[in-house]
Symmetry: C2
Subunit: 695 residues, 2 copies
């Protein structure tokens, strides 16, 4: 509610200005010296130079004899040369080359002029399990046996100077620069450092980012919150994001809505952190608290960014030099010398807003501080499956699901509420709608920032249509059987599912549409809606539909006619869903005027959300499937059994991933899952329902 | 040397067979239950279901009043309705909706019919630092002040049922599947789990991979190894790689070359690990030890893979079921039930071989065990800058540097020795040459597997030519000033550098070529070698060339003529380098027959490697620059000052990154670095050397 007084600064301007001001005020990364063995993935703050050469001595690269190349000159098959004791020395791989020699001859090429005096082989080493062959035994002899007495040896080939020797500095020379500043330390670089005598190095200190959650109503995570208690999960999300981005994260305790307490918490955080985030909570006036506290301990640069979600973000900073006087009574803050300025960011309370604010405003700052540690984003072009409206006031960030349908990448926008954290969990990408656009039309080609590997999208089955928990179970079974296949489902109802298939936006739609006139399920709708065919209707299950009621049926509801009774609060499904069509039909059949049913316009998108509202006492009755009622332990008045089928376009039918899914329908695992869900009868799963094709 | 008895199985066959056999023997990942807060980046082993709804109660989404929507019916601007105490209740964002109400009206739309009784504002909260405006004070009043007495209120608009309410299950319904099996846990998923009452989940246990380094001569990392001691750094590399790939790594102590000891170490590792790697060391016969031990405790599937580097790898396994009898005397191994089979891999001792073996054979196994946790590789097309030979016997993995020159991505092969760990450190990508190819010609378009972000390659300056440590210092200064620019340099000598520029394969070449006839540096060569022009020769420094000698000059060398003396061991630079041309010229001038100089054909590629050999006593004298002598604290007999210039093609001259580099030449920082290196005089750095262009 206080948003209307905020500035509405353009995101790019805010981001650039903010970073520029912070840098001008002295924002720099800290440094620390750590062991090479602990340095994986860190970024050098200073160049690293080799301390010793690698190899650090001239080492034999073979088992053989060290010789002076000059002594072997002229040797050939026909004119072998002889080397007397003293002119050569036996040497193993890795042994130092004696100073008087400058070449190594492989043991295979050394012909002794005396008999071998074979050392006793230690028998235990040669218990072979049948593995050691005669040839290997020969190898062993070569490796273990050497003439025990000095002897004259014969060579049939001359040696080139420095052959079979790993010379000093062959790989690395002492004093050579191994890594310049701001280099990411790879495993191979760690090896090179150790090899050249470097045991520690100076790296960029991971920026320490503190998050202070605030709010009277928020509590630490628990499985049993009371009404009015909100679980504090933003810190879990942000902490994980910060670590991914190379920062160290500190989660401070929850602070109540009290300016004095928040100020104290910020001051504590300032003494420990390089960057401080204040979680604003969702209460009205809260942003004003945060803003007021930031302006007390430091300076606010921007309050209000032209982005949605995320608009009430606050960008401020604590400046050690200029704010010292302001805080002359407070304890000496931020003793770390590199912390002359500490960014103070007010993060909106809703998680989706917070995620966008951190991504857009904090990540670039961390990239700067960490020396470009983060992967740049990757983008793909996709076709929007439905129109997305947007205002000219904000740049919008819309979460989308992605899937290749008919070789076209389809982007389906997900829920846009800023409280809907699952939209981020289920998203495959982010669509940015610029401030100057009033949204995008369905069918438009848009650029999507990817949140997963592009390769995975090709293994994704797009399911749009009627909701049933069995789809999630299929998704799980698919992943158990074929780890790389994923299934993304949108619950939009049977009608919209059929339309999505028609428009080439889905591989599969769950559907259960009753034809009032014929009593037939699905086929007649599909004949009517997709007259040109090109689709297959596949049988899946029969499932029980009925009235879901609180345990014990306290209001004594017996049938559809009872829904109009006084004090009965109904909860409905959205228009176009098979269940809505069913209740409309049932009411019509019984001559019930649905405008007399209280709550008939209260619409939910899934069976489970209807059941959840009834279970919580927020509604008294709703129509839904047995398996949803079972989850919430509700009473269930059985009304009818209906056919829940899968509609599959021909182009998807041929896809191996879709065939994998269909194969699962007949599996024992699927039958077991249905049994656990309850209320289903397998109905020739996977078989073509006839008639369905036109004519 | 024992390689000749190994099999030479195709890599793909080996990898597929090996994994298939292991899976058939029961290779599966373990599982463990962990707290959601610790689950970032882990992979679910079982589906996760919501325990409670989110929100778990009907919560107000605004500050305002809760009402019954029916009571507001018909309200409008002209016909406001009045609500009496009891018909509404003040409510804050996040507060539970009282059961008797079904809508929320925003506080801004609530008109009280009585005066506000303003609460005293706590002044301390409102010390504003000039920030709180009048409007915000109004906001605060709205947030803090409520009519303290019950009062009749007025509404000018009707409320829709369920408006401004976050209903139970709006985001997540209890019982809903949040994540199917084998899903990577993202930060948002962690938030969704916490929000829906899930505090722990079952994830795939990170596979525990043990590495046993073996070898008589290897010692743990130290800054001061003795001659004959090899620093054990493979475990540091492998451990870091394994962790990157999602495994847990255990580094076991170094084991001496002794079959009994190695067998004991393997048995210990088997009891703690899911996968055991045995570092084979580089001594001859070592692979036979490892093979013999593996065949004693388990089974060998393949010994010898048709890859280079990496050919002597051993793929084996310990099978709990079939190998029990074999080991009936040994302690009960591998009690973890999921470890019915433990892969045993013999990893070649050279680090480059080991890295390839782990990448090609272990990573796919970890992907399988971790549920496709790893990013797939990405590839780019590049043009090979020089021919690479390969045998029909092996598939070769060649490390390359990459850079965009004239919009063409150029791949320059790096050192191919398997001991050269820096080749992996400096590589931008890997070129695979299939077994059936005898190598690739220079100029061929090849597919390169990327080891860094593609975006970074556009910010990379390709420097090919004469070696000077000042190039590394420039590289460091560049990164300090512009974190994202990198500089990749290849030390191939002045001549090859000029050719690289001519062929469009480099942005810059360091060069110092003396024209014997004119005494002029560089320009005459460039006029001759690049007669068509299109290049600029930029002045950089004058540097001191001279004879480098051990401290105290024990052999009393005074000048070039002394090089032919008996007992003097010279070390030279490669043909085509400016320093080689200089020594050839100096000898010719003094009528010295270079075939009388011992070691004249011992060629090194950098000044520092020449200096390193002299410092180590492996040679007595070499020609090189003062700064290299200074690093090793050598004596230096000054011979001449030479012009070290930069040759830059016109297309590179226009690149901002190249201009950034040239700007650095005039910087105080660069002057300071040169001063520290020693032996340089800045020579109008950055100025065009004239004449250089033809005609």
């Amino acid at each position: 509610m206080s948003f209307k007084y905020l500035t509405n600064i353009d995101l790019d301007t805010a981001r650039e200005d903010y970073l520029a001001v912070l840098i001008e005020k002295g924002l720099v990364s800290g440094k620390e010296t750590i062991a090479v063995t602990e340095a994986a993935g860190r970024v050098t703050k200073e160049a690293v130079y080799a301390k010793i050469c690698a190899p650090h001595y001239n080492a034999s690269a073979m088992d053989g004899i060290a010789v002076s190349a000059r002594d072997t000159f002229g040797a050939s098959e026909t004119t072998p040369i002889l080397l007397e004791p003293g002119q050569y020395k036996y040497i193993d791989t890795g042994d130092p080359l004696p100073e008087e020699f400058d070449a190594v001859v492989m043991i295979e090429d050394v012909i002794s002029t005396e008999d071998y005096e074979t050392k006793e082989l230690e028998t235990e080493e040669h218990i072979t399990g049948g593995y050691i062959t005669e040839k290997q035994a020969m190898d062993d002899r070569l490796a273990h046996d050497k003439p025990v007495k000095s002897a004259t040896i014969k060579l049939y080939d001359s040696a080139a100077p420095w052959q079979h020797i790993r010379q000093i500095g062959e790989d690395i020379c002492a004093g050579e620069m191994l890594l310049p500043s701001f280099s990411k330390v790879t495993p191979a670089a760690m090896g090179a450092m150790i090899a050249s005598g470097v045991t520690e190095l100076t790296v960029i200190k991971r920026p320490v980012v503190g998050f202070i959650p605030t709010g009277d109503e928020i509590i630490p995570p628990t499985a049993n919150p009371k009404e009015g208690e909100i679980l504090e999960f933003n810190s879990v999300i942000y902490t994980a994001m910060l670590k991914e981005w190379g920062a160290e994260a500190i989660k401070f305790p929850i602070v109540k809505d009290d300016a004095k307490l928040i100020k104290a918490a910020v001051e504590t955080a300032l003494s420990e952190c390089d960057i401080v985030l204040i979680g604003a909570g969702s209460s009205a006036g809260r942003e004003d608290y945060t803003a007021s506290v930031i302006s007390q301990v430091g300076t606010i640069l921007y309050h209000g960014i032209a982005i949605k979600p995320g608009k009430p973000a606050i960008l401020g900073y604590y400046d050690k030099n200029t704010t010292r006087e302001k805080n002359n009574n407070s304890k000496e803050q931020n003793k770390d010398t590199h912390r002359s300025v500490v960014p103070l960011i007010g993060v909106p309370g809703y998680p989706v807003s917070g995620i966008i604010v951190l991504e857009q405003l904090l990540r670039p700052m961390l990239d700067y501080l960490c020396g470009a540690n983060n992967q740049p984003y990757t983008y793909v072009e996709a076709t929007l499956s439905k129109s997305v409206a947007s205002t000219l006031k904000y740049r919008e960030f819309v979460r989308v699901r992605l899937g290749y349908v008919k070789d076209k990448l389809i982007a389906a926008p997900l829920g846009r509420g800023s409280g809907v954290v699952t939209s981020f969990m289920r998203a495959d990408g982010i669509l940015e709608i610029p401030q100057e656009a009033e949204g995008y039309e369905s069918g438009k080609k848009v650029n999507i920032r990817l949140m997963r590997n592009k390769e995975e999208l090709h293994q994704s089955i797009v399911v749009i249509g009627s909701h049933d928990p069995l789809i999630d179970e299929l998704s799980d079974l698919l992943r158990i059987k074929h780890g790389n296949i994923s299934l993304g489902s949108a619950h939009v109802g049977s009608m919209s599912g059929i339309l999505a298939v028609k428009k080439g936006e889905a591989h599969l739609a769950g559907t259960h549409l009753l034809d009032e006139e014929t009593g037939e399920y699905n086929s007649s709708f599909i004949r009517r809606m997709i007259p040109d065919g090109g689709v297959k209707l596949i049988k899946c299950v029969k499932r029980k539909q009925g009235l879901m009621l609180p345990k014990g049926n306290p209001k004594g509801i017996k049938n559809i006619a009872d829904l109009v009774k006084d004090g009965i609060r109904y909860v409905n499904r959205q228009k176009g869903s098979g269940t809505r069509i069913l209740i409309d039909y049932l009411c019509k059949k019984d001559n019930i005027d649905t405008s007399n049913i209280y709550g008939y316009d209260r619409e939910e998108f899934t069976h489970t959300s209807v059941a959840a509202l009834i279970a919580a006492g927020s509604a008294d009755v709703g129509l839904g499937i047995y398996s949803a009622a079972k989850i919430y332990d509700l009473e269930f008045i059985h009304i009818c059994d209906e056919d829940y089928d899968f509609l599959i376009p021909d182009h998807a039918w041929e896809m191996p991933v879709v065939q994998e899914l269909l194969a699962l329908l007949e599996s024992a695992d699927f039958a077991k899952r249905l049994d656990a869900l309850g209320g289903y009868i397998l109905n020739d799963p996977g078989l073509l329902r006839v008639p369905c094709a036109p004519d």
